[in-house]
Symmetry: C2
Subunit: 425 residues, 2 copies
Amino acid sequence: MKDVVIGFLGCGNVGGGVWKLLEDFQKELAHRDNLRIRVKKVLVRDVNKSRTCAVPRELLTTDVSEIINDPEISIVVEFMGGEQPATEYMIRALRAGKTVVTANKVAVALNWHRLQAAAQETNVGLYYEASVCGAIPIIDTLNHSLQANRIHYLMGIINGTTNYILSRMYDKGEDYNAVLEDAKRLGLAEPNPASDVEGFDAAYKLSIMSSLAFHARIPFSKVYVEGITHVTAMDIACGKEMGYVLKLLAIAKRDGDSIEVRVHPTFIPTEHPLAQVNGSFNAVYLHGHACQEMMLQGRGAGDMPTASAVVGDIIHASIADVHVHPTFANKADADATLAFEDNWRSRYFVRISAVDKPGVLAKVAGWFAQENVSIATMMQKGSVEDGRVPLIFITHEAPEKAMQAALAAFDPAICTVDSMIRVEK
Amino acid sequence: MKDVVIGFLGCGNVGGGVWKLLEDFQKELAHRDNLRIRVKKVLVRDVNKSRTCAVPRELLTTDVSEIINDPEISIVVEFMGGEQPATEYMIRALRAGKTVVTANKVAVALNWHRLQAAAQETNVGLYYEASVCGAIPIIDTLNHSLQANRIHYLMGIINGTTNYILSRMYDKGEDYNAVLEDAKRLGLAEPNPASDVEGFDAAYKLSIMSSLAFHARIPFSKVYVEGITHVTAMDIACGKEMGYVLKLLAIAKRDGDSIEVRVHPTFIPTEHPLAQVNGSFNAVYLHGHACQEMMLQGRGAGDMPTASAVVGDIIHASIADVHVHPTFANKADADATLAFEDNWRSRYFVRISAVDKPGVLAKVAGWFAQENVSIATMMQKGSVEDGRVPLIFITHEAPEKAMQAALAAFDPAICTVDSMIRVEK
């Protein structure tokens, strides 16, 4: 029997889930893995605060040194969230020769190079499966099973809150604000949902996933981010009628040394595998030169699914004697040989309100044509209101900048652009 | 730079794929993983046979000892297929202190205990990701990411040939034999497709997956196997009308010490995640107590997807200094404390031809009722032919044996049972 003593940094919902899972799983751990895992100390901000998790009061401490300087503790598990002080505490733990398991996407995305350097200094492990998509084993799959692949692209629904909101808007035609309020009430959106609905949560995760997929550091700052706050029930209904579902997609593509990484609302055809991923589910769809298409789907958030990933890493770290680190030069900035493409190619859904007069369509088509954007589908939706009629266009593939230039040329006296949403196959 | 010298046992399609992938990936292997992997010898039956793979003739040998006794070779990769002589060769290689990577489901399913014992004797690795579902990382996911779970069940579409056949029958209403012949012509079915269409291929894979999922040896001999050879276009059309898709599912469920493992054609609702998995794609859907629902989907066969898994394992084995083995007592037979349930509960689709007279439905309903099988839906399909009318029943959940007993009681003078297909949620 191998005894492993661990310390927690933080003890919120996920920490409570991990505590519960470790408690509840003692017999299996002993039987299956010959392991006895004991939590010795838990860092909290306030020892006296009442908390839902069942950690005994005597384990709590407000002094991080009690964990970092405890020679018995070999694994430090972090669920504080946020960049600081989590990053500094983890670096101190790694330098003290302790393996770190973290669920913290912000700290990993922003300070991965510092964390990894500290881990390599002392030959300890740095595990972060739980930092991306909860229980879905995307980190381990990229690090191990897909090592022999050139990943061409990955596309993911990697934020549960926005997928829940968009799924309900699609199914029931509801408005964004109404569903958001309901999601808050149901605990599916944070009281301050900005990081989710503005796309930053997905962008942190995309930075981590794409770095592993492309074996090159893809900094968070290089990710184009656009959230779902401006999405309307009208757009979703129009897309639905034309055979598309709206998802907040995190997209990473690599073509030689050219890389694009972007998070934005995206229409995908209803028959796309990601179109079936609804509610709070997450999924990552990818294509590698050897594995071809693959999709991993599951619970991307929630206490127990996240705890599943954390404890999976704790068990692996407890058994492993050698810890393997990601196979790329993990620096603060992107490799200088990489070109980050902001003029990506996509198809576009454009909704406008145009004055209801002969010749207007010819004008609009002309503005598209000036930038060589060609139109695949046009549809009038609804009827004239205030002398204006709503028109929907879906374009063929075009460069982003050409599209932006075309829309900038639209004359507001003739038509206004109500929405522009990218469309992927 | 770490030099790794490997030997191949066999060099068919997958071997050719692995050769190609290793050749083509040399630069990445050096850059990403600091590895130089060289194939030194390749065992074949006939050195003079012309072969499609690009292995240079001077590497070929017909003498397995040349590989097993070569002290320079540290990893032996096996793609001979079939139980023997593959199993004996792998055991000899393991005993000689060489790590083994295999794509051979039959050898692993039938002789896993012997292979693992040999690997543990000499502290080497035994890797078999490619033996189940090609590129899909189900073995690694069960062994690592999901370690902290009690898996309640897994359901998989794990045979590409049968999924291709059933998908085409569903989409186009074609007959089994016509599609099978076409699949052979397209290289999607073997000239002798028995192992696929009779369900044995799926049963070998299910034996391996369920053993890892349940941390208990689930021998191949315990898997109930029923293939798709008796499936008709009529059944699929009726199911489609009622909102179901037919798939050859491999199902493993655990409830305490009671286990059921079965492979058979199964109707699932069109909204089930597995219902969207079409053509030659594979997928495994599972439920764990912490991770909750998860699905892994991808290419389950094909030279390059299988090579993706093999080379992923070769790279991992090349880096790892300690090889972790599955966490259960891997014996020839099942643990005596396990009860293999053959009286599982399911819902049932039953198609009969009944004489077209008043009172017949009451009789049929009576035979079901005698065994406490209750009917959820009844539908007449098509019109009277030879004085008989086709009737479809879908039952509520009932024990398998009650269902079998009910059908055995049907009086052929009144109705004949044309099909009985299990239905899962």
